[in-house]
Amino acid sequence: MDNALSINHLSYTYHSINGETNALEDVSFFVKQGEFISLVGPSGCGKSTLLNMIAGLLPVQQGEILIQEQPLRKSQKTIGYMLQKDHLLGFRTIYKNILLGPEIQKKCNTQVKEKADALLKKYGLYQFKDSYPKELSGGMRQRAALIRTLMIAPDILLLDEPFSALDYQTRLNVSDDICKIIKEEKITAILVTHDLSEAISVSDRILVLSKRPATIKATLPITFSIPTNSPREARTREEFKDYFHLLWKEVEDENENTN
């Protein structure tokens, strides 16, 4: 089967007046169709750079990014991107916010509107359709942001610490919520996070990145004896704390090398 995404020998350098910074160096990995991958690593190591490149916001300098074996520029595949904050536009209703993608792509037909209604109903936001973002709780806003991303029918979903702006309890609930939705819709997803337990609870595989310039340092496949779609459920499993120790060791090694 084709990989949903392959990254081959990718490097990236930022240039500024004060000099150049190697953000990525020879990064290679792949993501299978429907797989949920997490990237963890020290802060500022270039994880967001990697996502920005996959999203096509930064040019590929060296190496290649293949989407279903097609180069990124040529592929017709859609890539969804969820940012740290929900960035719902305050002057638009939830419904209008969700239709932002189709509106930009000039595909705002009845079929799309029906899809929007269906997603809003399915994920419990239909009654807030005509509300403005400030009237919603943080968790509901993040859910609305996800629906906005789902509206463009992404083949690959990138998540850049999408829960980090929320308080801890909301964060657990929202990550449970959102990850269930992503798994239900069978979307290939790449999550960047600092939170090791979050990574373990949601992923099929975790990639540990080294400090800058980032390379893939270790890969940790996560398999629970009884599979689950719920991150909250996963946290209660016996294997969870073994994975946590393993991952902790990997990340800790990296930090020691830094010091």
Partner: protein, 274 residues
Amino acid sequence: MKTQISKTSSPPISMQQQIFLKKQRKKHHQIRFLQIGLLFFLILGWEIAADTDAIQAFIFSSPSRIINCFFVMLKEYALLHHMWITVLETLLSFLLVSLISIFLAIILWWFPTCSKVLEPYFVVLNSLPKSALAPILIVWLGNNMKTIIIAAISVAIFGSILSTLSAFVSVEGEKLKLIKTLGGNKWDCLRLVVIPSCIPAILNILKVNIGLCLVGVVIGEFLAAKSGLGYLIIYGSQVFKLDFVMLSIFLLCLLAMILYFSLQGVEKHFKGHF
């Protein structure tokens, strides 16, 4: 919708809350009362001082003389015409300033290099006292309404462009990134995020502009006019009719207030979700 429903079904207000609200309302009334009282006191004091010759009514005028003057000028000097001219010039220049500055701010936002090149020019022109330009404008454009409108535009426009541009560039970069991740281009960023999220800022800039345009119109009328309240002020001071001058100043105050509050009305209409 949801919040409205929860508001109507909320439990009755507690005793303490009622007392608090009553206090607030009382405070509010008190301030209004004192504001109006102060105005009344000033006018009364002025009138008494003039009537008892504590100040020279010929130089300082007095409220009763101003009121008399108002009726005399209505009949004999076409006061309404002068007011209308000033209002017309102010509104025209305000409209032009607003359109030109929003248009130019969009151009400068679109071409950052262009904005960097022009920035020092705008900063210098903005800090230049624009009344210094008025004599040149008369020579260039002649003694007519065009000169006055250009003078008014010159007073407001540079500040307006700079403030509008700075509102545009202060829009969160992440929001623009969002538009790009949804497949949008620069035009989408502009129409979907930058302009709508800058509407409150633009309305504030417009409020400043209307005041500045009035200043510019009066400066223009001082130098190059045959009508308008600015012309009346100059005329009045030259023929030593201070009642004329005072009345015109009072009418300008009134005009400024009306223009400002009508814009505030527009702003209230727009507000809600920003």
